[in-house]
């Protein structure tokens, strides 16, 4: 799964050189959803008021871990994402810390009005897990893929939006949103993707992390595209291009300082996300930078179309979501620098 050509190259590079310029090592692959599942268990162990609502796909979005461990704090809701979100709001207004998880397609779209009014306008301490994000879901096809929810959730006032880059960060991010007070949405994927951060890799909710230093161009990525960005940076280095790679795992609130520094110091930005180019991470960064430091940008993402069935790696290649497109975008944006 997702053993794209670029990743293979990377593995080769790593084994040849013994080390990479970014300091991350590929530790195999594991889907971010497992990090979410484990994070829930950690929270459950720490706090007795963390509760989880199941949406009839508990073994897909790994709420099953919590269910097995804390059956008395797990509540099956069946297939009613709108009302599950409302029930979560009611629990939050009663002092509980409820997590509700489903596929992002349904955890952000079936319940958008509920997120807007009952969660965000209420400022209810509800945590939403949106799984199977992006197109890497694969064969299930367009209805089960979701490429729109970064836009949908980040436009909501009071919402915090996190897109962890790998399994390890997903676990940290899940614990962090559980401990943060206020509405949160966390996005995670179904398919096994590269694991490369460690327990020691810094993660702070609301902070973007520079994963590789460089001043020629800054690649701002989220989710599994962070690894693709690191791979791209290694390739770019061969052409003498020194790319900064920033893991923008918190998309809302955006870490303006880190983004601004990148724009000032690199003068050109590439964004990469498994989402529509429209209104996503790239949009968030563009909106901020034109106000502070307008620099040339290029976007790697899905270009305003629905996904489709296929193997995850085939789809990532078909829709242009690999290091290859990041490399091309980086070269293009550097050429545009004034």
């Amino acid at each position: 799964m997702m053993s794209t050509a670029t990743t293979t190259t990377m593995e080769k590079t790593a084994s040849t050189n013994g080390a990479s310029s970014h300091g991350f090592t590929l530790q195999g692959k594991k889907a971010t959803r497992f990090g979410f599942g484990e994070g829930l268990v950690t929270l459950g162990e720490k706090y007795d008021n963390v509760v989880v609502l199941g949406g009839d796909i508990t073994t897909s979005v790994m709420t099953s871990y919590f269910k097995d461990k804390f059956p008395e704090r797990f509540f099956s809701m069946g297939i009613m994402e709108a009302t599950s979100t409302l029930v979560a709001a009611g629990l939050a207004l009663s002092g509980k810390i409820p997590f509700f998880a489903s596929y992002g397609a349904f955890a952000a779209c079936r319940n958008t009005d509920m997120l807007r009014i009952s969660v965000c306008y209420n400022d209810a301490n509800v945590k939403i897990g949106g799984g199977h994000a992006g197109i890497s879901v694969g064969p299930d096809g367009a209805t089960h893929q979701i490429l729109e929810e970064i836009a949908i959730t980040r436009v909501l006032p009071n919402m915090t939006l996190v897109v962890p880059c790998d399994f390890t960060e997903a676990k940290k991010a899940t614990v962090a949103i559980g401990e943060h007070v206020g509405p949160c949405y966390i996005r995670f994927g179904r398919t096994d993707t590269p694991m490369f951060t460690t327990e020691d890799t810094p993660f702070v909710l609301g902070k973007a992390q520079v994963f590789r230093k460089g001043n020629d161009v800054a690649i701002c990525a989220c989710g599994p595209m962070v690894w693709e960005a690191l791979v791209a940076a290694e390739e770019l280095a061969k052409d003498g291009i020194d790319a900064r790679v920033i893991n923008v795992s918190t998309i809302k609130p955006l870490d303006n300082a880190t983004i601004l520094a990148a724009a000032k110091e690199c003068g050109a930005i590439v964004t990469a996300e498994e989402h529509q180019i429209t209104a996503g991470l790239g949009g968030a960064i563009a909106e901020y930078l034109v106000k502070e430091e307008p620099v040339p940008m290029e976007f790697v993402g899905v270009n305003d179309s629905f996904g489709g069935s296929g193997d995850p790696d085939e789809l990532m290649a078909l829709f242009g979501l690999t290091s290859k497109e990041i490399i091309a975008a980086a070269k293009k944006v550097i050429a545009r620098k004034k």
Binding site: E45, K46, Y47, D48, N49, V50, V51, R73, F75, M77, G78, M80, A82, T83, T85, L86, V87, A88, A89, G90, L91, A92, L93, S94, G95, K96, I97, P98, D113, M114, R116, I117, S118, Y121, N122, D123, N125, P157, N158, G178, E179, V181
Partner: protein
């Protein structure tokens, strides 16, 4: 194991993310609000006393609406008897002096547009000064056009206004009380009958009965009216009682203007174990104001000054 504490009760902080002030009641009318002594909630209050409070609630609704120059008359007036029974007939366990008391029963107004009756009820119970009713719908008022929890008005448990959502919140609260905190609080939620057209109502109903939430009581304000006309013409919701039964509720049909019948219904709901209860309260929109009674055109407009005067005269 620890509970991760967070602030769940609203403060008087004004609008989100801003330092906007909360509107202070300025208007002082000749309503005797300054000297008003709140009514108490007691099962010892006679039906007549509760009915008298309902009348007072209605008067305050009219006064607030005429001042606001916009807002909903029909539903609030028509459901005042239900609110009076709940808050003053000894049905709900609530304390205006300690509004966020952990053991309180909670009320969620799923039909958010009907908030004038809730505001008026709360003011009559002493949750806040009656003068504040006259800030209804005005800039920075705690009495938003639809309930806004961000304004921190005591007694407002949740923002509502998008129909079909409040009931699900009430279900979450009932689930929290019964199955997580395992306390004996009860949760009440009132929906409109047009509101029953929203599918989330039936999701919430299914969920409540699946989890056997016998601490939940739903009241349907069955006034046969919604914005565009009579409910059976806009979108038939009958047979209402069969629907709730089929979704696992104990159902009680009752005259929503009969305090005694309402009290019995609430008692029956409390006594019903193993399933939630739905009280289908037959009411007349705008009741008992002569020119509003049972007329859907009064769903969403306020009386003008002359109409208000007539209404207030009818409500003495």
């Amino acid at each position: 194991m620890a509970s991760l504490d967070f602030h769940i009760y609203p403060l008087e902080t004004g609008f989100h993310g801003s330092s906007r002030p909360v509107a202070k009641p300025e208007l002082v009318k000749d309503y005797g609000y300054e000297t008003f002594v709140p009514f108490t909630n007691s099962s010892n209050n006679s039906d007549e006393q509760v009915a008298a409070i309902a009348k007072e609630i209605r008067r305050d609704i009219v006064r607030a609406l005429v001042e606001a120059k916009s807002g909903h008359s029909g539903g609030p007036l028509g459901s005042a008897d239900i609110f009076a029974t709940l808050y003053f007939g000894g049905v709900m366990n609530h304390d205006p002096k300690d509004p966020w008391n952990k053991n309180r029963d909670r009320f969620i107004l799923s039909a958010g547009h009907m908030c004038p009756v809730l505001y008026s009820t709360l003011a009559n119970a002493g949750y806040f000064a009656k003068q504040e009713l006259l800030t209804l719908r005005k800039l920075n008022s705690r009495l938003q056009g639809h309930p806004g929890r961000d304004m921190g008005l005591p007694g407002i448990e949740s923002s509502t206004g998008s129909l079909g959502q409040g009931l699900g919140i009430a279900v979450g609260m009932a689930l929290s009380d019964k199955l997580v905190s395992k306390n004996s609080s009860r949760v009440y939620s009132l929906t409109g009958d047009g509101e029953l057209q929203e599918g989330e109502i039936w999701e919430s109903a299914m969920c409540a009965s699946h989890w056997k939430l016998d601490n939940l009581t739903v009241i349907v304000d069955r006034n046969h009216c919604q914005i565009d006309g009579r409910t059976d013409e806009v979108m038939e919701v009958d047979p209402v009682s069969d629907k709730w039964k089929a979704f696992g509720f104990h159902t009680i049909e009752v005259n929503g203007h009969d305090i005694n019948a309402l009290r019995q219904a609430f008692a029956e709901a409390k006594a019903t174990k193993g399933k939630p209860t739905c009280i289908i309260a037959e009411t007349y929109m705008g009741h008992p104001v002569s020119f509003m009674n049972d007329d859907y055109r009064w769903h969403g407009k306020p009386p003008n000054k002359e109409q208000a005067e007539i209404a207030l005269n009818e409500l003495v």
